[in-house]
């Protein structure tokens, strides 16, 4: 559809039409609990209440949001941390009764004038990592939850049979209903529930519904994602965005939640009741114009979304191929963004929330499925985004149509494309070495590039296949590493260093071998190796703008804090730097995009009526960031050993990798270790691998030292009580936990720097217990 100006009613996708028996579905619903509430005024971005639901006891109640809570935690992810802190225990694991799934909004969530203002932030204890995982996701749910009167929704306990939770703003009710007949997989379920709960048979009414769902894959793996729907009035499809990382969909299905539905009665451009709506509109229009004028010359987000990154990453040797062994591939041009552009539907406002003119949420409509239970059905595929395409290249799969099918099944089965792709890429490498084989893989020939085997694996997984391989493989890289090692099938060092996970979570799709700062960006994180905390590869590797440990540490302080800020407010990160003002390069700190930072200062002030500056934004994040790290410490993690990353993310693990980039690595050995070129010629590849290994591991430890120091932590990575107090925290329980941990680290000798500092080098400070002098 390229003509444009097609009236909404006339628009056709070519998707298979379904005639759901809504009456039958509805009759199957039994109301287990109903809670009536009176919505309060939403004022300056806050509903000032949160909603608590317990599925074990069928209890529903409201909790007040205090001014102190806003001051310390701002909103969004910060509120999520606070709610979890009040309800879970240090012993809580992902499947514990008391584990919660929290969905939060943030003061700017639901704003329509500034692009990227409709994000929900989900938190839970993750099955992959057993610490807190947070995901930032689009779709309408967060905005609708707030407009229904709640800043956050907290779900504890487990239901005994599949239930749907409905936040019904129209009726002023929260209900828990059984839902026995609906499908579990998302693309059908979301459509069924949208039709079922819409007040009337119209696109307008359907657009007032947002559904959260997972799928069969989420039930049988640790990769479960949450699909947040947003009804598209043109395509007439319940499109969806994913809270992908860390298995929150697995927690969701473990709680026997089939879906959560929000139904909003009415909203408009000022439903948040901002302090200064004029300012919000002015700043918003300014950014809309910037996107209009510049996007086509910059990232092309409006035409291909984040997929534009594929060609750039391939060009810079950063596109993971064959389980991150390489960063580019001769076949990669087959999956460059123009190939997907051919498939994408054009000229539709593709924002995942209203008013996002960055509009990166592309789809392929009328796509015919070729395998599995939906074979032959014509569907809308949401995506693929860069990470999903990267997951394809990581498995050495170069067919755009195959990637679309993979994308579709991951979404509808409710599994994360990143974790799934990264883990399977690892299994494929193990298959190549004979550590895995057909017999060990339940009959699947899981070698690089075997498109059919990957889909077959996913179908078996979603069907709940109980073979040993499918069961363990679905739990991800960390568990498979243990399984392979326990069985004695391969060299433990190779298995550990090649499997791309840290903290139990799979890496997202960037090769970080030549960027130390980015290794820190993946390793020195809260939830695990996801690029949402920092993306420093170009700054570090291409522009060499942060050469010293201190520079890198500063970047690994500032950017994680800055990027955390979006999640406190219900915002999307992309409109910050995926479009840049025309004079950005001439500013003093182009990588921060100063004009856009000022936009965010302005819109937070305009919404809340506060009077903060850019430093205060960083402080808001620093509070939550440190609190989350402290909670991880409380959960028994969150220390140096947990910030370990596999060597595959630092350098060549195998001889083949070394040889493929021999010139580069020889040069590094010469430059970094002072080995004479002549001497290098006499060394075997194995010897050179080892030299590089020792050097790069050491570099990472030194970087860790510098970062911990900059963040105000101990050498073991523990936030210090002094730092927490400086941030305004007075919670005795937390301060005591941290002090006790630091004291026991002292006894265990862990309050010492990790790097070995030779003559002429020095650690961040030589003062012992430096934090006590603050």
């Amino acid at each position: 559809m390229v003509e444009g100006q097609i009236t909404i009613t006339d628009y056709q996708t070519g998707n298979t039409k379904h005639n759901w028996d809504l009456q039958k579905l509805k009759k199957g619903h039994k109301i287990l609990t109903k809670y009536t509430y009176k919505k309060g005024e939403i004022n300056r971005g806050y509903a000032n209440r949160t909603l608590y639901v317990n599925l074990s006891t069928n209890t529903i109640k409201e909790k007040p949001v205090t001014n102190d809570m806003k001051k310390k935690f701002t909103g969004g992810r910060g509120f999520g941390l606070k709610l979890l802190w009040d309800e879970i225990q240090p012993t809580t694991r992902w499947d514990s009764e008391e584990n919660e799934l929290v969905i939060t909004t943030g003061p700017l969530c639901g704003n329509t004038q500034y692009p990227g203002s409709g994000k929900s932030i989900c938190l839970s204890i993750s099955p992959s990592t057993n610490i807190i995982c947070d995901c930032n996701v689009g779709g309408f749910f967060g905005s609708y939850l707030k407009f229904a009167g709640f800043d956050a929704l907290e779900i504890q306990g487990k239901a005994t049979k599949d239930v749907v939770l409905i936040v019904d703003d129209e009726a002023g009710e929260i209900r828990i209903e059984t839902a026995p007949h609906e499908e579990t997989n998302s693309h059908h379920l979301n459509e069924q529930l949208t039709h079922l709960y819409a007040s009337e048979d119209s696109e307008k009414a359907r657009q007032k519904i947002s559904v959260i769902s997972a799928g069969k894959g989420a039930e049988h793996s640790y990769w479960g994602c949450l699909n947040f729907s947003f009804w598209d009035i043109r395509r007439k499809v319940a499109r969806m965005k994913q809270a992908g990382r860390g298995g929150l969909g697995t927690v969701f299905r473990d709680k026997k939640i089939k879906a959560i539905v929000a139904k909003v009665k009415h909203f408009d451009g000022i439903s948040n009741h901002p302090a200064d709506p004029k300012k919000l509109a002015d700043v918003g229009i300014k950014l809309h114009r910037e996107i209009r004028d510049l996007d086509r010359y910059q990232c092309n987000m409006r035409t291909v979304g984040t997929g534009h990154l594929v060609e750039i990453m391939d060009q810079y040797d950063l596109l993971p191929t064959e389980n991150y062994r390489f960063g580019s591939f001769p076949k990669a041009s087959k999956i460059y963004s123009p190939k997907f552009y051919e498939h994408f539907t054009k000229i539709i406002p593709d924002g995942c929330w209203h008013g996002c003119t960055m509009a990166c949420s592309k789809t392929v409509d009328g796509f015919t499925i070729k395998t599995g239970p939906y074979k032959g059905e014509n569907v809308t595929v949401d995506g693929p985004e860069y990470e999903t395409i990267g997951a394809g290249s990581n498995m050495s799969l170069w067919d755009p149509e195959w990637i679309l099918e993979f994308n579709f099944y991951c979404d509808t089965y409710g599994i994360d494309t990143i974790s799934t792709g990264t883990a399977i890429a690892f299994y494929m490498e193990m298959y190549e070495y004979g550590i895995l084989n057909k017999e060990r893989c339940n009959g699947l020939e899981l070698c690089f590039g075997n498109a059919d085997a990957v889909l077959e694996f996913m179908h078996q997984l979603a069907q709940g296949n109980s073979s040993e391989f499918i069961t363990i493989a679905g739990k991800g890289t960390r568990r498979v590493k243990d399984w392979l090692i326990t069985n004695g099938w391969g060299d433990p060092a190779l298995i550990n260093e090649a499997g791309m996970e840290s903290k139990g979570l799979e890496f997202s799709e960037y090769v970080t071998k030549e960027s130390l700062a980015m290794q820190g960006g993946y390793g020195l994180t809260l939830k695990g190796p996801q690029h949402d905390e920092a993306w420093l590869i170009f700054m570090d590797m291409v522009n060499n703008a942060i050469p010293t440990f201190e520079d890198k540490a500063e970047a690994l302080h500032y950017f994680p804090m800055w990027r955390t800020w979006f999640g406190l407010n219900g915002l999307c990160k992309l409109p910050w730097n995926d479009v840049e003002p025309i004079n950005n390069a001439q500013t003093d700190e182009p990588s921060k995009v100063p004009e856009h930072v000022q936009n965010y200062v302005d819109i937070q002030n305009a919404m809340t009526g506060w009077n903060v500056d850019k430093n205060e934004l960083i402080l808001q994040s620093e509070r939550c960031y440190n609190w989350q790290r402290s909670m991880n410490v409380w959960l028994g993690r969150g220390q140096r050993k947990d910030d370990w990353i596999p060597y595959r993310s630092m350098g060549p693990v195998t001889e083949m990798e070394y040889i493929s980039r021999k010139e580069r690595y020889d040069k590094k050995l010469h430059e970094n270790l002072g080995i004479k070129k002549k001497d290098l010629e006499h060394k075997t590849v194995r010897e050179k691998l080892e030299l590089l290994y020792i050097y790069r591991r050491e570099q990472y430890e030194k970087l860790t030292d510098a970062v911990y120091y900059r963040r105000g932590w101990t050498p073991n990575g523990i936030p210090t009580p002094q730092k927490m107090k400086a941030l305004g925290f007075t919670d005795k329980k937390m301060l005591t936990i941290l002090q006790k941990k630091i004291d026991s680290d002292e006894k265990a000798g862990l309050n010492a720097w990790g790097g070995t500092y030779k003559k002429g080098e020095s650690p961040p400070t030589k003062t012992k217990k430096y934090w006590e002098h603050w």
Binding site: G4, Q5, T112, Q113, R234, H288, R296, S337, H354, T357
Partner: protein
């Protein structure tokens, strides 16, 4: 077919009766100026009109379907449906979709002819044009 305003600058005397009539249509006031969808300005070259030419690029920008073509072919904004995102304001290539501080929802020329009727000098006229001749689609190509 679509009705589009045509301006005869030589006839205009700059009385701004058109703006006043327009603001009355949109905001029930005769203030004109920022509350009018049509704006007349005096330049060195004489009077100039600034108003929507009904090309309709914004139609494909609206996430809630608040923008549609009316019977007269003009692009209409349904205030009740609009959620005030300003996408249409920001993307209008000629700045003819306007935002006034009175309300969050934008406003624009609807080719109603109030200004035409108000103009004492007959400097304005509603012309019928073919939709295909004026229609424009929002930028969607890959690459600059």
């Amino acid at each position: 077919m679509v009705n589009v305003l045509k301006f005869y600058p030589k006839k205009c005397k700059g009385c701004l009766e058109c703006e006043k009539a327009c603001s009355n249509v949109h905001f029930k006031t005769f203030d004109g100026k920022e509350k009018s969808a049509i704006r007349i300005t005096k330049t060195e070259k004489g009077y100039q009109m600034h108003v929507c030419d009904q090309r309709g690029l914004c139609l494909d920008m609206c996430p809630v379907g608040a923008l549609t073509r009316g019977k007269n072919g003009a692009v209409l904004l349904n205030v009740k449906t609009c959620i005030g995102c300003q996408a249409c304001v920001g993307f209008c290539p000629i700045g003819a979709m306007r935002k006034n501080d009175i309300r969050i929802e934008p406003f624009k020329c609807i080719s109603c002819g109030a200004c035409v009727r108000a103009c004492p000098e007959h400097a304005l006229e509603l012309m019928e044009k073919s939709l295909d001749a004026i229609k424009q689609v929002v930028y969607h190509k890959l690459g600059a």
